[in-house]
């Protein structure tokens, strides 16, 4: 097991992506009791938005770091707008409908986004090559090879998780968000603009998806229209395992899932085809053992 450091790094990279996706699920659920299944497709949309931005920036002759910044901003802005739009036009009007209707509706929105990318993006069915905007190469520590881009992305991912945590727990907007999550009616009586806070919350959750989409695109240098599908299932699972509605739970769930996948390949290389099966089976066992998640949502504190 000389490569343990390498496996750890791989797991951290994937865990960061899963954790970011799971965090979105947990924010939506915490505030609105909504399971928003279009989350993965919003992530895909962010990555494609980023790709178009890189093309445009490249055509304008911008330098690589500038291309990177433009792509990141476009991906996050696009997902924020789409997330806020979904909440304002679809989730808010339906907020008193049965939860099942909401779930179905978000699934359909996700399918619509996914198919729209496939049909309207040029050659949308084919995987798209994402330009390498981060420094290539890396360095060896013992037998492990540390990719520079992976380290940058892990740090960026962790920083964004920290930023979202700070916004929720220490900003005025976060306070309003938590108030709405706690008791919508009282929050409104206290003068919190409900109709503004909800779309903003969804924008925040969707920005994390856009960020995750960019991390994915930069790490693998390849994106495709259906990449959000499995990521959404894994992210949602991670959120459930960690305890839906609990931010730290989502992050722990994300790293746990990545850890399980990595462990299978490291321990049993010939079984690598079954890594998702193995990880999901263990998750089922975990959910049976702790139905409310590893870190259960505390009644008094949401999000």
């Amino acid at each position: 097991m000389g490569m343990i450091g390498q496996h750890l790094l791989n797991g951290l990279m994937q865990g960061t992506i899963y954790g970011l996706v799971a965090m979105g699920f947990t924010i939506f659920f915490g505030v609105m009791n909504v399971i928003k299944f279009s989350h993965g497709d919003v992530l895909t949309l962010g990555a494609f938005g980023g790709l178009v931005a890189v093309w445009a920036a490249n055509a304008l002759g911008l330098s690589v770091p500038l291309q990177f910044i433009v792509a990141l901003c476009v991906a996050m802005a696009l997902t924020a707008v789409v997330g806020a739009g979904i909440s304002h036009f679809l989730i808010m009007p339906l907020r008193n409908a049965p939860p099942l209707n909401m779930l179905l509706m978000t699934m359909m929105v996700g399918t619509a986004i996914r198919e729209a990318i496939r049909l309207f993006f040029p050659n949308g069915t084919n995987p798209q090559r994402f330009p390498e905007l981060l420094p290539a190469g890396g360095f060896n520590i013992g037998p492990s090879f540390f990719r520079t881009d992976a380290i940058i992305l892990i740090i960026a991912g962790a920083a964004s998780i920290g930023a979202v945590y700070w916004i929720i727990n220490h900003s005025k907007f976060g306070l309003a968000m938590r108030a709405v999550a706690e008791d919508t009616e009282t929050a409104r009586v206290m003068g919190i603009n409900f109709g503004r806070i909800i779309p903003l919350t969804f924008a925040l959750g969707s920005i994390t998806a856009g960020f995750a989409g960019m991390i994915y695109a930069l790490y693998y240098s390849e994106i495709n229209y259906s990449m959000g599908l499995l990521l959404a299932v894994i992210g949602f699972t991670a959120a459930i395992v960690g305890g839906l509605g609990n931010i730290w739970g989502a992050i722990i769930g994300g790293y746990l899932f990545a850890g399980l996948q990595t462990f299978v390949v490291a321990a049993m290389p010939s079984m690598s085809d079954y890594k998702n099966v193995f990880a999901f089976v263990l998750i089922i066992v975990l959910i049976t053992w702790r139905p409310t998640g590893l870190l259960a949502e505390r009644g008094s504190e949401r999000v």
Binding site: T125, P127, Y220, N224, S270
Partner: protein, 394 residues
């Protein structure tokens, strides 16, 4: 009926006579239309190969229709199987149940072809596979409808194993996709590599659409093989090559017909593709008997996409189907019988001979290496003269 006016009656009369007049007119000058179908992956990650095949089949039809002495005018019905077995089953059922379509030229992807052979048999529709190389497509069952001009993957793995042994390589890792195709590739790679006395340190199997290969590559890095054998198609192959570089793995990449074609070089980039080996059941276009004719005609037709590795085979399969229809007429049963007798039939890729399973037994396996972004026949490459070197040579 009493309300029909005189003018109405006159119009009816004209309408009933016109087709008669024009019918006899057209019979004298135009030929009967015969429909044949081409099936391949036109969308999705494998589409460069499908589109190259489609263009080549279309070219065969155009050239045939331009010949003055043919009995029929051919129309090519083109369908997309997306390289997915379920989609393949749908589109093949559609064409097979349409009696106006006489024969088919189906499939690039083996996993799709193996799923549809039963349908061709059930609907008694003759077909000639243009690219898929899984042995079971022709050999698992003895269907008279099923034929194939492309080779089978056993030969390329045998030649490949001998080639690697001759270079002195000893330690291998196998990396294949988890479809029937990848499994079969891995099976014959393993068999022939072990027969040559070489060692396989590990075998990996991943779904063809898996993005993240980091866990597998970490393990491979630990195993430290001299050669990574790849049994799969272009997108996964290019992804493997790209991520190998990102992980600093400096092993020689040994591919097979699945990555043969410009699409692999384009996807991995010329620098990373450099030195990649592959074994493919055909000499290059320039060495084929009708290669120059095909290349010139393809260029003249103005296609913007390259024919890719199997384009000439799609051309040959389409041409073969049309020649057979010319001979026996547009009748599925007669076409099936006559295709069974194909022997030493000249074609642009060389003579075609079907064995009793409808398998073309004449393909010539050739070794290729990527040199400056092009697939070059090994014997003519700078790697033979020693000017360039493969990786990890002992």
């Amino acid at each position: 009926m009493g309300t029909i006016s005189k003018r109405g009656l006159a119009a009816l009369a004209v309408a009933s006579v016109l087709p008669l007049a024009f019918g006899s007119f057209s019979a004298a000058f135009a030929k009967d239309k015969v429909k044949i179908a081409f099936v391949g992956p036109l969308t999705g990650a494998i589409s460069p190969h499908g589109i190259g095949g489609r263009n080549s089949a279309e070219l065969a039809v155009k050239l045939m229709n331009a010949e003055p002495n043919t009995k029929y005018e051919y129309e090519l019905v083109v369908l997309d199987d997306e390289c997915k077995p379920n989609v393949g089953v749908q589109v093949v059922t559609k064409i097979a149940s349409d009696r106006s379509i006489i024969a088919a030229i189906p499939h690039y992807c083996s996993a799709t072809a193996i799923a549809t052979v039963d349908i061709f048999n059930r609907f008694k529709m003759p077909m000639v596979v243009w690219a898929a190389v899984l042995p079971e497509i022709t050999y698992a069952k003895k269907y008279p409808e099923v034929h194939r001009v492309s080779g089978i993957l056993i030969g390329q793995n045998r030649i490949g194993a001998q080639f690697m042994k001759a270079r002195g390589y000893k330690k291998f890792v196998s990396f294949a996709d988890s479809t029937d195709y990848g499994k079969s590739m891995n099976k014959y790679f393993t068999q022939f590599t072990l027969e040559n006395g070489n060692e396989i340190l590990g075998s990996f199997s991943v779904p063809p659409d898996q993005q993240d290969l980091s866990a597998e590559l970490t393990k491979i890095k630990e195993l430290n093989p001299e050669v990574i054998y790849f049994g799969g198609l272009t997108p996964l192959g290019a992804r493997l090559r790209t991520q190998m570089a990102k992980f600093g793995i400096n092993a020689q990449l040994e591919g097979n017909s699945g990555i043969m074609g410009d699409a692999f070089v384009n996807a991995a980039g010329p620098e990373l593709a450099e030195g990649t080996l592959t074994f493919f059941d055909s000499p290059p276009l320039s060495k084929m008997p009708g290669g120059k004719m095909f290349a010139d005609a393809y260029k003249a037709a103005g296609y913007s996409e390259p024919p890719e590795a199997y384009g000439p085979f799609a051309y040959v399969a389409t041409r073969l189907v049309m020649e057979t229809i010319e001979k026996v007429g547009p009748d599925r049963a007669k076409v099936t019988t006559d295709l069974g007798d194909v022997k030493d039939r000249p074609s642009i890729v060389g003579p075609v001979t079907f064995d009793d399973h409808g398998q073309n037994i004449t393909p010539l396996t050739t070794s290729y290496v990527v040199q400056d972004g092009k697939w070059v026949v090994w014997e003519e490459s700078e790697y033979v003269s020693g000017k360039r070197k493969l990786k990890n040579l002992p």
